[in-house]
Amino acid sequence: MIFFNTKVNQQSWGIKQKASSSFYLSRKNSWLLWLCQCLNVAVIGLELSTWMLGIISLALAWQAHLLHQSRDSVRNKKQLKTAKQPGPRQGTRQSKHANNNQNKPVSPIILAVFALLGCLAIAITAKQVGILVSMLHLLCFSYVLKAFEVRSRRDFYQLLLLGLFVLAASLIFRQDLTATLIILTLLVLNLAVLHQLFSYQRKFVANVKVIIMLLTQSALLAVVLFLVFPRLSPFWQVPSAKSAATGLSDTVKPGDIANLTRSTKLAFRADFGQQAIPAYSQLYWRAMVLEDYDGRQWTRQKRFASNKIPGAKIKAFSFDVSKTEVSPLTYQVVAEPSYQKYLFALAPAVAIGDSSGIKAQAGYTFNSTKMLSQAKSYQLSSYLTAPFGVELSQKSKMANLSYPKNSNPRLEQLALQLQHNYVDVMSRAQAVLTLINKENYAYTLQPPLLDNNSLDQFFFDTQAGFCVHYASAFTFLMRASGIPARMVTGYLGGEYNGINDSQQADNTGHLSIYQYDAHAWSEIWIEGKGWLRIDPTSAVDPQRVDSGWSTRLLQEQSALNNDLLSLYQMKNIKWLSALRLQFDALDYQWTRWVIGFNNKQQYDLFKHWFGKMASWKLALIMAVSLVVTMAILMLFLHLLNQPKKKSRSLTKWQRIYQKSLTQLAKQGLDKPVAMTVNDFSKQVRRECPELAIVFTRLSASYNCLCYQPLSAAKQEELTLAMQHQYQHFIHAMKRSA
């Protein structure tokens, strides 16, 4: 209600002229605004470059300094005034005005120079950091600078709107529940600062309450719009921010995944519905298959990445369902935005249900057609125990046997030895695993550095490493000994969360797979059996494969003092862990139903409500419901503003007088509310002599009609006269104009 009363009485306290031209923020409000700015920027701060953050914090500190200074000046002024002046009110007002002027000591030239330099820096770095981030830089920079010139009400609005825009922009990067809650809180804070300025309540908490109430009221509208508003696919691709890309990369060299395993960020979730979740050691989530090895690092084959082979989906890459008797395991995966294309699957799998936007790749992996800038949900059916890739083309067989000669001579030597000793392929692989198991190999996330990523050095000298090291060395050995082998990266396991499961059945619910579950393993191809997964890590650290992180590894991590450890420690505290699981379940639902609510689901919802229909009908329904919502809203607003007008039914003469006042206001002659009709007519006489006669007559008639006791006939007569006088007045106005 407070918001809608746009025409609050224009009051004059004798400083009306000043008040309209200069805008005054009280000190408390200034600090609140400043706090808001800090928080808004902090939310998006992670995505900005360091130098930009530096500039922003510099500007904010400057702002704080100015605010602090203004307080001192007010205090000094007050002391001076009270010493001199007996009139307390007069004194404070003057000092406040003095303060008002003093509040903006920043000369526009300095600001302009500062802004120019900042823009230059943004422009120079634009190419390096990408368009999205540089636009964000510009946004945040202007947001911070705008605070230096809040001179009028318009500036204040602009600043607040910019703040809201910054908040919304931070949603580009994070949409999970935590981020949404933080942003919602900040939204309340921002709006409360706005409200604080106009409400009669001084207490900030009370204003926050009002805003929360208003937001709750408008939640209904938000829900309607959320369901009904057309889900247009974005007009442009959200450009990827480089720092935002998370997860696995498509090149892997020894030592790569270790960083990833320190991150507690969510990678994806998998929901198995009512089916039993397979054992931990079965949950090898494939993300990428790396077949090219150049002696230093593993990369995906170019032809897979481009994926231009027509009809490839069925013929070459996809698993043929008809040939297997294994019962499928169906599950839904909700991938978090990673700004990459790869998706996760338990091989071999086929996409079921709505498979738009998903493409099967060679190596039984799946890719999204677009970069994952939003959460993506898809359904898969996996045939876990079924063999796959039984037939291998000569070309890919060659590819999976090739390795740069003399890149790791000692390993090649060993391979030749193995090839000689073990004729059987399986026993050859087994021999390597035994070797790893028996020898003094260690599984550690902080292996000694390798020169040039040499596998030789790892395998024979340092003998300490983690999954990538072992998988690399193993794959290399296999290839060198004549077995087609390749490297697979992805995730292993996942955290079970049964909270969403209503029936409380065992082993149902969803799995949350975090970045620290990242893993690498290898596959070898055996004639007649197809690709066989072999995880050399299991030979070193079986616990890692069976149930996740071993205690020894965790101890090792404690030295690093990262949040992974604290997470694990938290798991030991029962209620905390329960709370975390609860939140995770909530977040899953949020991601699945709110973030993942796309046009397909919207269409399904409408179909559910209205039955099957043509898409144009659907569009019509959407349009109509939108229009109706808006109409209801407008009506609501209209009704809210109505009673104010209705409560005072204006008489005829009042209406005429008001009209003439509006006319005069257009000429720049405003009647202060406290001025009487007589006094105003005197003023008009002084300022517009050409209107004097007509307006004085009009005013006199108004006074008579309003305040004199008159008979009905006389009243009518006078009203008529007043109407004539109004006509004359209008003519006179036109003439003078």
């Binding site: 007996p86 005072r648 009709v677």
Partner: protein, 355 residues
């Protein structure tokens, strides 16, 4: 009740005497037409008048000329800090000849009593005036005596910061309809004052026990004055003006209770700027405001009240009821732009309850 002529006629009939009274007053009090009209309005509205100013600004002169011009019995009492209530209202004294008690009437039994420097008397004496002012009667030794009609108290007071002054209690302040301040005369008026003969010298015999001195011819009779007072009460007040007055007192009450009315909010929200600190206006105050506005309209030759009249009397009627701490007057128009102005400025004349 005999059918009285309509109020319009009464107003027109009185105009001559009113202008005569004003001319007479202005012959003595130079250069203060506005204050003279307000003082007259106060008497016509049957209110008591408090004149506050520095010594020697013509307070007593104004009070004196008002009394004499209207043809009323008049006595001046100089209030001092050892003045007792009996000195004001009178006392019973034993008469040897009649062998009984005899009432010795105090100065209060005059139609106009000039309580000079009222704030120099102790609060006890000050409150002796209270019953008289409110009820038009006094009690001496348990016997109630009616006071003459019309009855006015014209009090003068020195600014509070002067030595040896007691502040008037709020209850008594509220009983004064108006508080006037004369202020320094302008150059021309002061010249006139210096050139004019000392009018009051021959009547300055008036003391505590003074006689009723009449040196100026009364302009109107007592009956005419009572008729005029009656006519003032009959002046028409439209609903709009009533609402305006109510709105004004509402603003003061809201300000008092700490919530600044939304109407008082300046749109740019600088709440600190418009904080009004005042005492609330009592219904008696709004009644006084209405009455005084009626008298102003009457003096202005109108049979209906305009908001202009309300505004004209608002400062003198309300300022002393609103002030939390009396400002120290330094001569000049010290009651001008202050709390009363803020309140006045915050109410829309055309739409008093428009917030």
């Amino acid at each position: 009740m005999p059918k009285s002529p309509p109020i319009v006629d009464k107003v027109y009939a009185s105009q001559q005497s009113i202008s005569a009274i004003l001319t007479t007053i202005e012959k003595v009090v130079f250069g203060k037409p506005k204050e003279c009209r307000l003082a007259l309005a106060c008497l016509l509205a049957q209110g008591h008048l408090l004149i506050e100013d520095l010594p020697g600004m013509g307070k007593t002169t104004l009070a004196h000329i008002l009394a004499t011009t209207l043809g009323l019995s008049y006595q001046r009492t100089q209030f001092t800090n050892d003045l007792l209530p009996a000195d004001v209202v009178g006392f019973s004294i034993f008469n040897n000849e009649t062998n009984g008690f005899e009432l010795h009437k105090g100065p209060i039994f005059n139609q106009v009593i000039l309580a000079d420097e009222i704030n120099r008397a102790s609060p006890k004496t000050q409150s002796a005036l209270l019953e008289a002012m409110a009820e038009n009667q006094v009690s001496i030794d348990g016997i109630t005596h009616a006071l003459p009609n019309p009855f006015f108290v014209i009090a003068t007071q020195n600014p509070l910061f002067h030595a040896g002054t007691y502040p008037l209690p709020e209850s008594q302040l509220d009983r004064f309809m108006m508080r006037l301040s004369l202020g320094f005369p302008d150059l021309k008026a002061e010249k006139q004052i210096l050139l004019s003969p000392a009018l009051r010298t021959n009547q300055s015999t008036s003391t505590n026990q003074g006689s009723n001195t009449v040196d100026n011819e009364p302009v109107i009779t007592e009956q005419a004055l009572i008729a005029m007072q009656q006519a003032v009460t009959e002046v028409t007040v439209s609903n709009d003006v009533i609402e305006y007055i109510i709105a004004l007192s509402h603003v003061s009450r809201r300000a008092y209770s700490g919530q600044t009315a939304q109407a008082n909010q300046e749109p740019n929200g600088s709440a600190d700027e418009i904080e009004i600190r005042c005492k609330p206006l009592s219904p008696r105050a709004s009644k006084a405001l209405l009455q005084a506005a009626k008298a102003m309209a009457f003096i202005d030759n109108r049979d209906y009240v305009l908001p202009d009249d309300v505004q004209a009397v608002f400062y003198v009627v309300c300022q002393h009821r609103l002030e939390i701490q009396p400002n120290q007057p330094l001569g000049g128009n010290q009651f001008g732009a202050s709390v009363a102005k803020q309140i006045l400025d915050s109410v829309d004349v055309l739409n008093p309850f428009g917030y």
